[in-house]
């Protein structure tokens, strides 16, 4: 062993080597097909290089192939945990480009389905995050509630995951009779499930030690990266599209924007807990205020005329024919419009050339900028922290890769 340097009485240093490890693209902790190449010094992460694109399905290009309406089913597959929010976001953007505003009942229904969807998304985000740090039971407590929401969604639009419920200027159909009662019966279950899971984690020291300071980011840097949604609010920035740029009457409802302090994995979970409760508050108020009236805009260039009119009048028949054969004619122009999705600001930048087909549909998925900060969040921390942080960001490969 002559090549080992003599340390004058010290023990010779053991040779150590950094190790490359692939976290993903198929790994129990990567929700969806995320791949992170980790350079490890022992268990400490020296470098983390995320590689995205494993779930790239060409959403934006596919959107240019059909009519504006035909994009809606694609939006289900962006963040598949909250398809309804994506439906709402896309249709709202197209309506803004069209310059139409949907009737009050439609707006109220969109608020209701959005908040239901947000609750479902947060339930799974918290649940899987806790599974990542080894607490499996919470996941099932939340899944019981989530399942009841899914049954409601299925009853509402016939599908559980790929809802496609919202239409440009309208909805697939109005609420079914009795929906209000079904939802009202579900409302008390929300705080109960949250209390169940909070009871298991909130005073649990292991939970606090596993999440405190894990993947933390200060507010300024988070803004610089383009964080939005619960991850930004966990840093203490009360930015919420529903408050900052109110739409659909969110400003007339009484609710709060919960914020954290440290911007770490724990605050992200706690902020989501609180947002579930706030969404429940919104649901209660929206149900109480739900106006009567039509759900569709009264413009047969945007929505299909009622079937009985199609068979009875030439104008309705022509409107029907034009929309089915040519698609909705969105005037030439461009627009960026955003809504608050479960993960943050979901933006659509749309360009129309005046034909019935989108010229460009660009999505700003909330988790893309958030995920870009992932190396910054985990470098210097342990492998277990990377997993705990990844779950808290709630990166959904569907909207990340598109």
């Amino acid at each position: 062993m002559s090549d080992v340097p003599d340390h004058r009485g010290d023990l010779p240093a053991l040779p150590t080597e950094e190790m490359l490890v692939n976290l993903g693209p198929s790994h129990p902790a990567s929700h969806g097909t995320l791949r992170v190449l980790l350079k490890l010094d022992g268990e400490r992460i020296v470098r983390a290089v995320p590689e995205i694109g494993y779930l790239h399905r060409g959403f934006e290009k596919s959107a240019e192939k059909g009519s504006w309406t035909e994009v809606i089913p694609y939006t289900d597959r962006l963040n598949y945990n909250s398809a309804l929010l994506n439906n709402v976001g896309y249709c709202k953007a197209v309506e803004a480009l069209l310059g139409v505003e949907v009737p009050p009942r439609n707006q109220a229904i969109r608020v209701i389905v959005s908040e239901m969807s947000r609750i479902m998304d947060h339930l799974i985000a918290i649940g899987t995050n806790l599974v990542d740090i080894g607490a499996l039971t919470n996941f099932w407590y939340f899944f019981n509630l989530r399942e009841r929401f899914y049954r409601l969604v299925e009853k509402l639009c016939g599908a559980r995951l790929t809802t496609s419920y919202v239409r440009i200027g309208s909805l697939q159909h109005d609420l079914y009779p009795g929906f209000e009662d079904d939802l009202r019966a579900l409302l008390p279950e929300i705080p109960r499930a949250v209390a169940d899971v909070r009871g298991l984690v909130e005073r649990n020291r292991i939970f606090h030690e596993r999440t405190e300071g894990v993947g933390a980011i200060p507010a300024g840097e988070a803004i610089a990266y383009g964080f939005t949604g619960p991850c930004l609010r966990a840093c203490g920035v009360p930015y919420d599209v529903r408050k900052s740029h109110p739409y659909y009457g969110y400003d007339q409802l009484d609710w709060d924007v919960p914020v954290g302090e440290a911007g770490d994995a724990r605050d992200r979970i706690l902020v989501r807990f609180e947002e579930i409760l706030q969404s429940a508050r919104i649901l209660g108020q929206a149900l109480a205020k739900l106006p009567a009236g039509p759900i569709a805009v009264a413009d047969w260039k945007v929505v299909l005329p009622p079937k009985e009119r199609v068979y009875g009048s030439i104008e309705a028949l022509m409107g029907h024919f034009k929309i089915v054969m040519e698609g909705i004619r969105v005037p030439a122009g461009e627009i960026y419009d955003s809504t608050e999705a479960a993960n943050g600001e979901l933006g659509f930048y749309l360009v129309s050339d005046g034909s019935g087909r989108p010229y460009r549909v660009r999505v700003r998925p909330p988790c893309f900028p958030i995920y870009s900060a992932f190396p910054r969040l985990v470098e210097g921390q342990l492998v277990a922290d990377a997993v705990a942080a990844l779950g808290g960001l709630n990166v959904v490969a569907g909207e990340l890769d598109r």
């Binding site: 080894g134 099932w140 298991l200 292991i206």
Partner: protein
Amino acid sequence: MSLAVLLAAKAVVLVLLLLNLVPLLVWVERKASALIQDRVGPNRAGILGLRFAGMFHNLADVGKMLTKEDIVPAGVDRLPFVLAPALGLTVALAAAAVIPVADVWSSGGRSVPLQVADLDVGILWVFAVSSLGVYSIVLAGWASRSRFPLLGALRSAAQLVSYEVPLALAAISVALCFGTLRPNEIVEAQGDLVFGALPQWGILLQPVAFVIFVTGALAETNRLPFDLPEGESEIVGYHVEYSSMKFGMFMMAEYIHVAVASALAATLFLGGWQVPWLPTEALRTHAGPVLAGLGAIGALGGAAALAGALRLPRGVTAPRSRDALAIGGLGLAGVVAGLAAAATGLGADLGPGARATVAAAAQALAFGAKTLLLCFGFVWVRWTLPRFRYDQLMRLGWRQLTPLALANLVLTAGALAALGELSR
């Protein structure tokens, strides 16, 4: 000669008992986790329409494990790779050899200790052998020539070595209290009463040691919140590269470790085979009423099974009618057998051999009940707590549990010295 035969027979019985405990524990794990998580749990797999509340699912699992392709990945270190799972299972089984199931059976000048080996350093044997279990995991991780298993193996090496220390210190405190390392003597000593009322169980004398021991046992068995070597959502585990029954053996070893750790904890802290307030002599003199009591417990259990079966759907075409029939039949048989035993116990005059057997049966039942209770505790903890992180695990082990166990040991020794017990 007959001694060797007896020894072999006891070893075989113990191994069979432990191996059969594995499916039971797996079933408890599944059903208890389902109970905790508002689910139903396994209830599909069945034989001839018999399902027994998912009990048969384990048979399906065994069939699956045995018939799956046994893959040895290219590039692994073959010998250690194949050896590791077998080593884990062997070590887990061997550790149980010194744990007494009941007091020494004796009648007419013959006496049979109801444990495989009655070592005077039995507690040391358990620690010596079970700490070899780390080799199984380290070898598995190293021989796999894969990175995630390597991480798991390294975590495991550090974890098992670290938690061995407080675990052993806690056991030493108990051994000090009772002045022996022989498991059977430790259990015997726990039959005495303190303040003339409470049985002198280890948990009463050494409550701190009990907490440390159970925590350490959770870590030694690699179960949540200490399942870092497996860490399924982080590093997937030291056995990623294993398939088929080799993987199954790791699973079995884990459950046997749980059973052995529970049995050891019951031996050290919960009075082992002691039936509270009934020492062996009393059990033997009152063998008749004891048998009657056991019969009554059996009859009650049978009645409960019967009542449960009556609630199941009945009728030839009902989906679970065979379940109802089988469980009801077993329950009825239990009632009849229990009542018969009770009648025998109250009526017949028992010989000395029968008396010793009844006493041993009662003690074995008490021991089994305590062990299973602790096993359930293991399951309960697993489905309640999140997992530690590596550095937190080390901190808890070295900075908190080890000093606490040391302080407890010093206090115990000091107290015993002050009472003049150590000169014994």
